[in-house]
């Protein structure tokens, strides 16, 4: 009776007259999920390596000397907010809101992403000042193998955001671009999930155990 229209993924609203595009979006989004899971294993392994190397400080600086919880708190809030704004950007596209709103949410997401990166790089530089460089110990290698990997993903997300913005401007809102925006949003949410792992295991875990 009140069966909602088939709505397999958030953002796919192409409806009856777009059956083939809907099918395409479903296939591509599922494929992207599979890719994310493969990527997740990368992160999972880096987490495992970090856990096994937390003791391998070799007399170098440890978590208590290096981690700055205030900056990490700021980064957490920023990334979380950007996860919201990327979702709102997607909704703005999906419901054909005025162009200004779309540009606004895209822009906010991009600025938040870049701010996150700037804060993270500032953290790395502050750590390096205290002798916390990856060449110093196995523990620091594991840290720099994991956290910047996440940062690299965020940077890739920002680049993707810019390219998509340009494409939207040139091509207008096509089915293909809509499905790309859905995937970008998935990717961005995924990065926020990884970040929760990073604060819990890398930062709090490091401070609690190391």
């Amino acid at each position: 009776m009140r069966r909602a229209p088939p709505q397999s993924y958030p953002g796919i609203n192409l409806g009856q007259d777009h059956a083939s595009a809907d099918k395409f979006a479903e296939v591509v989004t599922f494929g992207f999920w599979v890719f994310l899971m493969s990527d997740l294993v990368y992160f999972g392994l880096m987490f495992a390596i970090y856990i096994t190397m937390i003791d391998a400080q070799a007399g170098g600086p440890g978590p208590h000397d290096l981690f700055d919880l205030k900056s990490i708190f700021a980064q957490t809030i920023i990334l979380l907010t950007s996860s919201l704004t990327v979702g709102l950007a997607m909704l703005a596209l999906k419901y054909n809101l005025p162009r200004v709103r779309i540009v606004f949410w895209f822009g906010v997401t991009l600025i938040l992403g870049l701010t996150f990166l700037v804060l993270e790089i500032r953290d790395f530089m502050a750590m390096a000042d205290k002798g916390g460089v990856p060449q110093r110990s196995g523990f620091l290698s594991a840290y720099y193998g994991l956290v910047p990997l996440h940062g690299l993903h965020v940077a890739a997300g920002c680049l993707w955001l810019i390219v998509l913005g340009i494409q939207l401007r040139i091509m207008g809102l096509t089915d293909l671009l809509m499905s790309r925006v859905v995937r970008l949003a998935l990717f961005w949410h995924f990065l926020d999930l990884i970040w929760i792992g990073i604060i819990t295991i890398v930062y709090f875990g490091g401070l609690s155990y190391g």
Partner: protein
């Protein structure tokens, strides 16, 4: 008010709830760390559980993973990936932890 606007509002509310929940959990985690310090095991356990809770909140409200039929495939995929991840991570920690103990790698 037509259906599209209604759906839009519902979906937006979903995101805002997810955001609010995650924000709240983040604040609790950081304030626990601030108030109690994180040296003790119990506090870390609490932080870990809150992190897990936030993962679930975001999976449900941001990534729209639930037991509805349409996202069942994604749920299956995530559960299977979690299984493999657990095998890999726990196995690695078990093996290397055991080796570290037996070989006195990190004299404390």
């Amino acid at each position: 008010m037509d259906r599209r606007t209604e759906m839009h509002r519902r979906e937006r509310r979903r995101y805002v709830i997810g955001y609010g929940g995650s924000l709240l959990l983040t604040l609790i985690v950081f304030s626990i760390a601030h108030l109690f310090g994180i040296e003790t095991r119990d506090v870390y356990l609490a932080i870990g559980l809150l992190g897990l809770a936030q993962l679930i909140v975001q999976l449900v409200y941001f990534l729209h993973i639930d037991r509805r039929r349409s996202s069942r495939e994604d749920l299956d995929l995530i559960l299977f990936s979690t299984l493999v991840l657990l095998i890999i991570i726990l196995g690695t920690v078990w093996i290397l932890g055991n080796l570290a103990i037996r070989m006195h790698i990190h004299p404390m």
